[in-house]
């Protein structure tokens, strides 16, 4: 009995904080998503209407929501594998016994992660400038016509993906590098004695050993990439033609620009459900392969 009280009182400070700053706001937001809370309701609660599932139904009918969802999925489906592939590639290179100046490259490749996005965006906007950008000048040297990277609705999302991948891959790279260094050398030695080549070592030793870390990194990256917002916000403002407009951007616009908190909450919960479902699917896939 005494032990139980002691236990709860040790847990209480944390529970109160979690309850007050997480559970309660989430519950309120959930309740808000069934109302039309907006600017008028802020003025007087008499102007608040309970609308049931209308926010959700309207969202599912709105072309803009589907467009935002499509853009977000485009970003996730292309961005996550690219990002993890690049992280893995960089980690393998850095871990290779042939690598020189390892510490320098590790820092250099990690630098984008800790650089302020807004500063990065200014540089990237110039790099990808249609007329003055180095990217187009490089392409011109190869005889390729200039591409309107940020102004053409077909190219804007690939440019954003490039930016996000470049900005973020260093983080996963460091985690994967640590995991690589933890793989016992004996495994490689015995593989070599059995006559395995470099490729076979990679496929049969390195990747299986990395399995749990890879699946963790994938799930975290995917959940992060679903919350695409800052990159289009600073690079394109969601344009051109809403081609870089994401679900979270939609929520920001509804909630903080137009103060439609009811609709914004509904978007937040739809996104939450989506991320939950996608993470669950990925986790099951990883388990079925024995990776987690």
């Amino acid at each position: 009995m005494n032990g139980r009280i002691a236990g709860w009182s040790f847990a209480a400070p944390a529970l109160i904080v979690i309850g007050g700053f997480f559970l309660l706001p989430v519950a309120v937001a959930f309740a808000l998503s069934f109302t039309d809370f907006d600017l008028y309701a802020l003025a007087s609660l008499d102007n608040l209407r309970f609308v049931g599932l209308r926010n959700y139904l309207e969202l599912l009918k709105a072309p803009l929501f589907w467009q935002a969802l499509g853009n977000t999925l485009y970003f996730v489906v292309l961005g996550v594998p690219l990002s993890i592939g690049l992280s893995l590639g960089a980690a393998l290179l850095l871990n290779s016994p042939l690598a020189r100046a390892q510490a320098f490259f590790r820092t250099a490749l990690f630098a984008p992660v800790v650089t302020t996005l807004v500063a990065v965006a200014i540089v990237w906007r110039y790099l990808f400038h249609t007329r003055y950008g180095w990217v187009n000048q490089g392409l011109a040297a190869l005889g390729i016509d200039p591409i309107d990277w940020l102004g053409d609705p077909h190219w804007s999302m690939p440019t954003i993906i490039l930016l996000a991948v470049w900005k973020n891959f260093g983080y996963n790279m460091v985690i994967l590098l640590a995991a690589l260094q933890a793989i016992p050398r004996e495994l490689y030695e015995s593989a070599r004695i059995d006559g395995a080549g470099t490729w076979q070592e990679l496929v049969h030793v390195t990747l299986p050993s990395l399995g749990p870390v890879l699946s963790l990194v994938s799930i975290l990256t995917m959940a992060g990439y679903f919350q695409l917002f800052a990159e289009p916000y600073v690079m394109t403002e969601g344009g051109p033609l809403r081609s870089t407009f994401s679900v979270l951007y939609f929520m920001f616009e509804q909630g903080f620009k137009w103060w439609n908190l009811g609709v914004a909450s509904a978007i937040a919960f739809l996104l939450f459900a989506l991320v939950l479902a996608a993470s669950e699917a990925l986790l099951r896939f990883a388990r079925s392969r024995g990776m987690a």
Binding site: D36, D38, L39, Y40, L42, A43, S44, N47, R49, R125, Y126, H129, T130, Y132, D148, L150, G151, P153, M235, T236, E237, G239, P240, L241, R242, F256, K257, W258, W259
Partner: protein, 425 residues
């Protein structure tokens, strides 16, 4: 338990004492909390010592908000009951805060004021502060859009004056485009800015919203005509399909002649003076916005000064507004910021008369029109621009745009209609 009650009682008494003490101390200077945005906040402190000298009982505490965060800060402050005593407010936000009940009505104060005379203000700009017939703010500076143009390029293309009508403007843009060739353009209409199209669509007796802001009115011929003119500029390749983020630096590009016409506001006078090289300074000029058949109207933007309804120092706040509205103070303010004064008597002062770039604005201010005074306006204007961008980029046929826009805006106004209908008996 009884000890807690005793503590609470003591606390309540102490609180009451403190409150009476605060109310009674008439000799203690009143501290006015004044919120401003952007550059204005930086320079207004230079105007305040004089005010504090004339009003020894009042101290002014300034807080600067960045423009990009100001809107949400104001609403958050309203929700948290933390608004200041007076505030600079973009005049399209006045309806919103008036709707919230956050703004003090000013009609009776103006009626008895010797300083602020209604007929001295440009009518269009004054009217942006009247919400449902009640005055909620005093115009502080004006922001309207007109054209900046390159005199030298226009002369090379064969024209010696700025356009005065849309036909003439189109002829000049055609000639400029033919002169500068495929890599450069005649005009820049940034696709992420609603202001140029908005200014073009104010050229009739249309109001963009109908029935007291209950329904959209974008099928009005004045709007469809403006949209056609706007879209034509892109179809003819007089304007590049670009947003501001792609241009990167509009001032440099204007200096390089990437475009020769630019629809923008008064702050760019100072920017072009500062950023264009000396040898370019004689090449640019401002001109009033052309209308379909002659001098056109433009939007009545800018900032107002408002007194917050919950303030305990409304009289002192009003004194500060009167002080900042004096022509001599406005002249200094103009010299510090380049912001355009809203009073005719300030414009009659020497430094403003002598400014060649400002005179087009003086002319334009006689023809400014307010945009609909509804809280949803900013969102509606944004939607208008999104549809215009879709038309320009070929995602929506121009013929369908007005109906599409009406549909989207009507949906945004649903709540407003419900509220207004409920107020009616």
């Amino acid at each position: 338990m009884s000890r807690l009650a005793g503590w609470l009682r003591a606390l309540a008494i102490a609180g009451a004492l403190l409150a009476t003490a605060c109310a009674d101390r008439g000799d203690k200077p009143v501290e006015l909390r004044f919120w401003l945005m952007g550059r204005e906040a930086e320079v207004v402190s230079q105007l305040l010592p004089e005010f504090e000298r004339r009003n020894p009982g009042i101290r002014v505490a300034i807080q600067q908000l960045p423009w990009t965060a100001a809107h949400e800060k104001l609403l958050t402050a309203f929700a948290g009951d933390a608004l200041p005593d007076l505030c600079q407010l973009g005049n399209t936000w006045v309806p919103e805060l008036a709707e919230l009940g956050a703004l003090e009505p000013l009609d009776s104060r103006v009626a008895s004021s010797r300083e602020i005379r209604r007929d001295d203000y440009f009518a269009g700009i004054w009217d942006t502060n009247r919400i449902d017939g009640v005055l909620r703010g005093i115009p502080w500076y004006v922001d309207t859009r007109l054209i900046y143009y390159r005199q030298d390029i226009l002369a090379q293309a064969g024209f010696d004056h700025a356009p005065r009508s849309w036909d003439e403007w189109a002829r000049e843009m055609r000639a400029v485009k033919a002169h500068v060739g495929p890599a450069r353009y005649a005009i820049l209409f940034p696709l992420n800015e609603f202001e140029p199209l908005l200014a073009l669509s104010l050229q009739g007796d249309n109001t963009l919203l109908a029935d007291g802001g209950r329904t959209a009115d974008f099928h009005d011929p004045a709007f469809t005509r403006a949209l056609a003119f706007y879209v034509d500029a892109f179809r003819n390749r007089w304007a590049p399909e670009m947003s501001n983020t792609q241009v990167s630096n509009v001032w440099t590009e204007f200096g390089r002649g990437f475009f020769s016409f630019y629809v923008s506001g008064p702050w760019n006078i100072a920017e072009f003076r500062k950023r264009l090289p000396p040898e370019r300074q004689r090449d640019w000029m401002t001109a009033p916005l052309p209308g379909p058949h002659g001098p056109g109207a433009s939007n009545a933007g800018g900032s107002s000064l408002v007194v917050i309804a919950g303030s305990r120092h409304k009289d002192a706040a009003w004194k500060l507004i009167e002080y900042l509205s004096q022509p001599a103070v406005q002249e200094r303010f103009h010299a510090l910021t380049g912001d355009l004064p809203p009073r005719r008597s300030t414009w009659a002062l020497k430094s403003l008369v002598a400014d060649p770039y400002a005179s087009a604005f003086r002319d334009q201010l006689e023809r400014v029109r307010p945009t609909p005074a509804v809280p949803e306006w900013e969102r509606i204007a944004n939607e208008m621009q999104l549809v215009a961008e879709q038309v320009v980029r070929g995602a929506i046929p121009i013929g369908e745009a007005p109906a599409e826009l009406d549909r989207r805006v009507d949906a945004m106004l649903e709540k407003r209609r419900w509220m207004l209908d409920r107020k009616r008996p």
